[in-house]
Symmetry: C2
Subunit: 243 residues, 2 copies
């Protein structure tokens, strides 16, 4: 059977890799991925064929993986975090009808929401929304509508891609929308370089998050009306002690 | 240092355990958890002290873990999925001021949203909301408001705890709210026994999800306006091919 694994590496350099992901990498002849992730795992797989494509070449990367799998090689397409959350799993499925003999298997990884939450404390203990602030492929108006709806319904939010060179003020714009219905005192936090050297986190109120300088390697968390700070950590109660 | 690890086992019997979680379990003297999860891992840790409490005894379980850690033993509190998503991480933090010498470390696991998505295809490729339908600790009116807001803003939804003995019609009630703004043709899916023996999945339109009989071991996914079915799998495009 022709096989393409789409594998999540987790947020960091490998400590959050699952046993199933490690076994699939071991079983693969070729590992395909974005240049940065291939460099991260290069030393662990010295005997594998490694193929990389740069950022923005996602479609070419998935086509390459499907083509390689179609030759009979077992292929692993690696993604940071979880391939099923803003990763390559969807694009591989969308392209897969062109290579009908290749079987896809998605192997989940720890996404930045879960990895970052563990660093901050326990911000995602109740209903939450995950929103990417990147408007490369989503109209900003749609992102705004989602932020507004999530805030009005008192969801916790986790924001991916909160900033980039071209979108320096997007987190500020997002905070202004959230502040329409969330208190400025709402506990928030952000984590940079999750699971990597230089990992750091900050807990701060929503009013200050608006002024924070974050980069594209940062994941942002905004609490709900029950979120609190305990020992410097961001904690959203599930309700066990409150019922 | 007195240490309590709060560890995610992933959705199944162990194949999705991360390397970091495995190392923390190995480093622990005592493993504490809900009876069912302790039974799942009992054979893998024959030399560890294992302590369990039944369902609904979450507060007692977390207190026990903190008390044991305070005696100087290294303690692992295990949760299914991710301890930071409807797990025990928050409750441990809430109780932790009572045992100030105990340091908490949350080790993330694959939550059912990510584990189930990988089985179904790639439903969570775009902004999504995670909502628990359990009203044990959340007023049903708040759950309804969140479902309505998520549907109106065209989020993908992932529903935890979609049913129980006492709440047989909750998924139906949730679908009726989603149908106020989502098309009855919206691709949906559900996965039972993720990562365990008997794992199964179903892809079906929202109009039929309303009639589905699901149990508490099922995770439900509802697509956004772009979600489609490819080769029997539920796939939400990220937008790479559409831009």
């Amino acid at each position: 059977m022709k096989k393409l694994y789409v594998i999540g590496l987790g947020p960091g350099g490998g400590q959050d890799l699952t046993g199933r992901a490690a076994a699939a990498l071991e079983a693969s002849d070729v590992i395909v991925g974005y240049t940065v992730y291939i460099d991260l795992i290069r030393s662990a797989y010295p005997h594998k064929e490694l193929r990389s494509t740069p950022m923005r070449k996602e479609t070419e990367r998935c086509r390459m993986a499907l083509e390689l799998a179609d030759t009979g090689k077992t292929v692993a397409m690696v993604c940071s975090g979880d391939p099923g959350v803003y990763g390559m799993a969807g694009l591989c499925y969308e392209l897969s009808p062109g290579w009908p003999e290749v079987e896809l298997e998605v192997i989940p990884g720890i996404t930045a929401a879960c990895g970052g939450a563990a660093v901050l404390g326990a911000p995602l203990m109740h209903d939450f929304c995950l929103v990417s602030l990147s408007d490369l492929m989503t109209p900003w108006e749609k992102i705004e509508a989602r932020l507004r709806a999530a805030a009005q319904a008192d969801f916790v939010l986790c924001l991916y891609n909160p900033s980039s060179h071209k979108r320096k003020d997007y987190l500020q714009k997002a905070c202004d929308i959230l502040l329409e219905s969330k208190s400025p005192e709402t506990p928030c936090g952000y984590v940079s370089q999750i699971g990597r050297e230089g990992e750091s986190y900050t807990v701060l109120p929503l009013s200050q998050l608006r002024e924070a300088q974050v980069d594209m390697f940062t994941t942002v968390f905004v609490g709900n009306s029950q979120t609190t700070v305990i020992g410097g950590r961001m904690v959203t109660p599930r309700g066990y002690l409150q019922r």
